[in-house]
């Protein structure tokens, strides 16, 4: 496989102006180009962008007031006024989903990012340095994994109070340990590779090896973990909300909508199913994006 520069696609090397070679072909641009060629990833990205726009502009685009109670319009089926019907308080389901997207998206993404960041750093330190560091980090992770995580999250929520920031904290606390384990095992395999030995033979410092050489090799794994942990975080949030320590009604999150709506499954199925489908589509979209990113970041998949 030959690599041809996009700067001078057809010119023989001698004819290409010298300064162009010194212009770095940016990694970011390469990645974006590879990502854009992946149709599923682009569909996923479009969906997520649309969702974010809807969430941000929910007050302007949603057809109704999310909190207005109309007891004479309970559990209506889909109609022209209420596209997805109404819930047990007569509130518009579509509006509630749009507002719920605000919380669910943030709860899906932010804690996942936090636990990935902590888990990646811990995993690389543990795997590369070994010895006492490894022991301490892994025993901490063992504790986190051995402890019933729902209980742990609930304890955090009870003691610190039910607000969004504490949900992030609780989910990150529960999530980092499994990331650290995966990253550690990858690091253990990577540190024996010849290119790490070669880097050491260049006088590369330990921190530069860990974060300049090992970390880029772990990124594809992190992306897969990320796209898997978003739905997990959304589910966690709904569990906490369901147990009354997460998002508090009348605020809406998708998990909460499904949890509350399932009581009326037979009278008005859309109340539970519609937010469920929203979760499904979002999770799917993030998975497509994750796949696309992983392929785009893998140099051997380019060209």
């Amino acid at each position: 496989m030959t690599h041809t520069s996009d700067l001078a696609p057809d010119l023989p090397p001698d004819l290409a102006p010298a300064h162009e070679a010194l212009e770095e072909a940016s990694f970011l641009r390469d990645t974006v180009r590879a990502f854009r060629r992946n149709r599923m990833a682009m569909v996923g990205l479009a969906f997520v962008v649309a969702l974010v726009v809807c969430a941000v502009f929910a007050p302007w685009i949603s057809p109704h007031d999310p909190y207005r109670v109309a007891l004479d319009e309970q559990l209506l089926g889909p109609s022209r006024t209420y596209w997805l019907g109404t819930d047990n308080f007569g509130r518009d389901v579509l509006t509630r989903i749009l507002y719920g997207a605000r919380i669910s998206l943030v709860v899906g993404i932010v804690p996942s990012l936090i636990s990935l960041a902590i888990g990646a750093v811990m995993g690389i330190l543990s795997g590369y340095l070994g010895g006492r560091t490894d022991f301490v980090v892994m025993r901490l992770a063992d504790m986190m994994i051995a402890f019933p995580s729902l209980l742990l999250a609930m304890v955090v929520m009870y003691t610190l109070g039910a607000n969004l920031l504490n949900i992030f904290l609780a989910l990150a606390l529960v999530g980092w340990a499994s990331v650290a384990r995966v990253v550690r095992s990858q690091t253990l395999a990577l540190r024996e590779k010849e290119f790490i030995e070669a880097a050491r033979a260049n006088g590369t410092s330990r921190s530069r090896i860990m974060f300049g050489h090992i970390f880029p090799n772990v990124i594809p794994t992190l992306i897969v973990l990320f796209s898997l942990s978003i739905p997990e975080a959304i589910m966690w949030e709904s569990s906490l909300s369901f147990l009354g320590v997460g998002v508090q009604p009348p605020e809406a999150s998708w998990g909460l909508l499904v949890a509350k709506g399932k009581e009326y499954m037979f009278q008005a199925p859309t109340v539970a199913i519609a937010p469920g489908i929203a979760i499904l589509l979002t999770v799917l979209a993030f998975n497509f994006i994750g796949d696309g990113l992983r392929d785009a970041l893998d140099p051997s998949m380019k060209d």
Partner: protein, 334 residues
């Protein structure tokens, strides 16, 4: 021989394991002259690569322990340097080229970033300056179309090109000494010849001294000025390359030379000559001469460890056959 880039005295490397210590390198002493190519040759497990790692300070810690009476690099004692001191030396004063060009480059980083990394580490150069310098190096090591190869990823280069890139990386800080650990073993024969020619040209042009580690006596004959033959962690013969091939003195060296297939000899139905037996387990060394169990010329006295005996012209062999008559009865002087 005052003008030595490297002068090693009494280099010993031991590993402590579950069943006691194993001495993988035993009291090595050798010199590398300025601008010379010195070969280390021996079978697998003879300690060639371990010698390289010991010199680089890359022996796995804490199991490995490297000691030496003295290691002078261009007149500076480096055997007492700590990890930080060795790290500052690596890539700047001593560089290494590894055996496997296919795996010694990080697959997810662009080639130029890796080749130029020693400059960032040791000289703190900026990206633009590094890129320009890497381009120069690529031209020097004969990478065709170097400008577009800068942004290539390792998988986009052939094995030969990767090894050229590795050599560029090794030489980018103009080190005093380049250690090449079987640099051509993983390459096909034509590429092998090109890489060897390149290394010799670079030596002639830049004046870098090279330690060439190989098990291939053909490469030794073609490349080296002096040769150290290693067996079971010891140097068993040390000679000028012409001397070595002209009058190999240690039975092991003779065995190695005899097992090179020759195109001129008719060989229908005959087995290739080889040295019987295998390299001994370093934890269970035979008493006396380590080669004696495989040696066709073994004598009763070989149960005692032989010293390095000096033959004419700096030629040295660790064998009782060459020990001076008066030292024979009690040749166990250290």
């Amino acid at each position: 021989m005052a003008d030595n880039i490297l002068s090693v005295r009494g280099l010993t490397t031991e590993f402590s394991g579950g069943r006691g210590d194993v001495r993988v390198l035993d009291d090595l002493s050798f010199d590398v002259g300025r601008g010379r190519i010195v070969g280390l040759v021996g079978e697998s497990g003879s300690g060639k690569s371990m010698t390289a790692l010991s010199l680089m300070g890359l022996v796995p810690q804490p199991q490995g322990r490297v000691t030496a009476r003295s290691i002078l690099l261009d007149g500076t004692e480096i055997s007492r340097l700590g990890p930080a001191g060795m790290r500052a030396l690596r890539g700047r004063d001593i560089a290494m080229v590894f055996q496997e060009p296919m795996t010694s480059l990080n697959p997810v980083r662009k080639v130029w970033e890796q080749v130029g990394e020693p400059l960032a580490i040791h000289h703190g150069l900026g990206r633009r300056a590094i890129r320009a310098r890497v381009l120069e190096m690529f031209e020097m090591v004969g990478i065709p179309d170097p400008k577009t190869r800068l942004d290539a990823y390792p998988h986009q280069l052939s094995g030969g090109l990767r090894q050229r890139a590795m050599i560029a990386m090794g030489l980018i800080c103009e080190p005093k000494l380049l250690i090449a650990d079987e640099p051509t073993t993983a390459l096909d024969v034509t590429t092998q010849a090109q890489i060897l020619r390149l290394m010799r040209e670079l030596r002639d042009r830049v004046g870098t001294s090279i330690i060439m580690i190989t098990h291939d006596l053909g490469i030794i004959a073609e490349m080296c000025d002096e040769v150290n033959v290693m067996y079971a962690g010891q140097i068993v013969e040390q000679a000028d390359v012409f001397d070595l091939f002209e009058k190999p003195s240690h039975p092991y060296t003779r065995g190695l030379l005899a097992s090179i297939p020759r195109a001129t000899e008719p060989r229908a139905g005959r087995r290739m000559p080889s040295i019987p037996g295998m390299v001994p387990n370093l934890a269970k060394l035979p008493p006396g001469c380590r080669f004696s169990p495989r040696c066709a010329e073994a004598m009763p006295i070989c149960r005692r460890p032989p010293d390095l005996a000096t033959l004419d012209g700096g030629h040295v062999a660790r064998c009782w056959l060459h020990a001076a008559p008066d030292t024979r009865p009690m040749g166990e002087t250290a």
